[in-house]
Amino acid sequence: MMVQSSPENGSLREGIFSIPLHGPVAMTTVPEIRKVLLGAAKKRAVKEIRIDFSRVSKLDTSGVAMLVETWRGLARRGGALRLSGLSENAKRLIQLARLDQIFEIRDEAGSRIEYGS
């Protein structure tokens, strides 16, 4: 069974809070992950949050809603949210919710993915 993300997973270095998530990011797991992300988004020292989804098995709309909350918390202070390692399904879900325009999504090579409008 995959280990769920916990506050210990994240690391803060030079204003960048990096966190790899594991397993499903869905209704049952979002309440815990949200605490970690919103907690980090509130910290003054955090200028950017980078979330690695490469070991995430599923992302549902509760996960997307959580990302919106995190992004909002950061954007108020001029911070950024970067997502990497998203599966094709997760990318499609974010596109369907039309949020690919506000999240910064990176591919495996670390390049920013630009979506057509």
Partner: protein, 270 residues
């Protein structure tokens, strides 16, 4: 192609008040596909839907879900199964005393530990998906028929269901709105990988969205297959349905006259 059957209906019989309405129904529902169940009014498709969503009791060994016997589910197993489902009823089935957003939030508040803000954003995402982002604060009575249907679908999608059941999506809708709803159903399959079961008698809509079609008649399955296979069917009843030919009324004159005359069979009754 390559899809496993998520639900296997394996010899379903059903009765209402002692009268049999479904006869040995057998078919599979492949995952991440759209299965359309169609047939004339009264053919048993809504009864079949009620069995599939657990609203009508099913005897053991007649419906398997992921290899588990639906007829043997205890209360908790049935609750867990229903959590995997989204259902859009023909009427939309919205709570009239709540706004559209509140309607969508209900299942999330009841079944999850998500915060109010997460739920609010999720409702907005679903409303946007259905083209109703501006109407979250509206009451159902303030919406048109097509919008109510879409709001009902937004609520059916609230829990990100793995399996979506849709009862007569096009009924009461104009052709443009109906086509829009069909396109959305296709998008849900493609984007979210949902397994979708649609019950309808609208031919155009059925052929537009179906990966697999089940044609029912008088409580039995007449034909099952891809849209092309159904179009090529030589079954008379299937052809009659596809060509929209009216039934030649089979009138039991003797029975009718017997009833009208007070159970006295007339000599001329045939």
């Amino acid at each position: 192609m390559g899809h496993r059957d998520l639900i296997d209906v394996c010899g379903l019989n059903s009765h209402y008040s002692g009268r049999q309405v479904l006869f040995d129904i057998r078919f599979g529902i492949p995952d991440t596909n759209i299965t359309v169940i169609m047939g004339v009014s009264g053919c048993g498709k809504t009864t079949l839907l009620r069995h599939l969503i657990g609203l009508k009791r099913t005897r053991p060994e007649q419906i398997m879900v992921d290899g588990q016997d639906l007829g043997k589910f205890n209360e908790e197993e049935m609750r867990n199964y229903r959590r995997r489902l989204g259902v859009l009823f023909q009427s939309g089935a919205l709570f009239n005393s709540m706004t559209v957003s509140q309607n969508i939030a209900v299942p999330l508040k009841v079944h999850t530990r998500l915060s109010d803000e997460t739920i609010r954003i999720m409702a907005l995402i679903k409303l946007n998906l259905l083209g109703l982002a501006e109407f979250g604060a509206f009451m159902p009575s303030q919406l048109s028929g097509g919008m109510r249907k879409r709001a009902g679908l937004a609520r059916a999608l609230a829990m990100d269901p793995e399996i979506l059941f849709v009862d007569e999506p096009s009924s009461g809708l104009d052709p443009i709105t109906a086509a829009g709803l069909d396109r959305l159903i296709l998008e849900l399959r493609d984007t979210l990988g949902m397994t979708i079961i649609v019950v309808t008698h609208e031919l155009e809509s059925a052929f537009r969205i179906a990966d697999r079609l089940i044609v029912m008649d008088r409580g039995c399955i007449l034909a099952a297959g891809s849209p092309d296979e159904i179009r090529a069917s030589q079954n008379e009843r299937v052809l009659q349905f596809l060509e929209r030919k009216a039934d030649t009324a089979e009138i039991n004159t003797a029975g009718y006259l017997s009833r009208i005359m007070g159970n006295e069979i007339t000599r001329s009754g045939r």
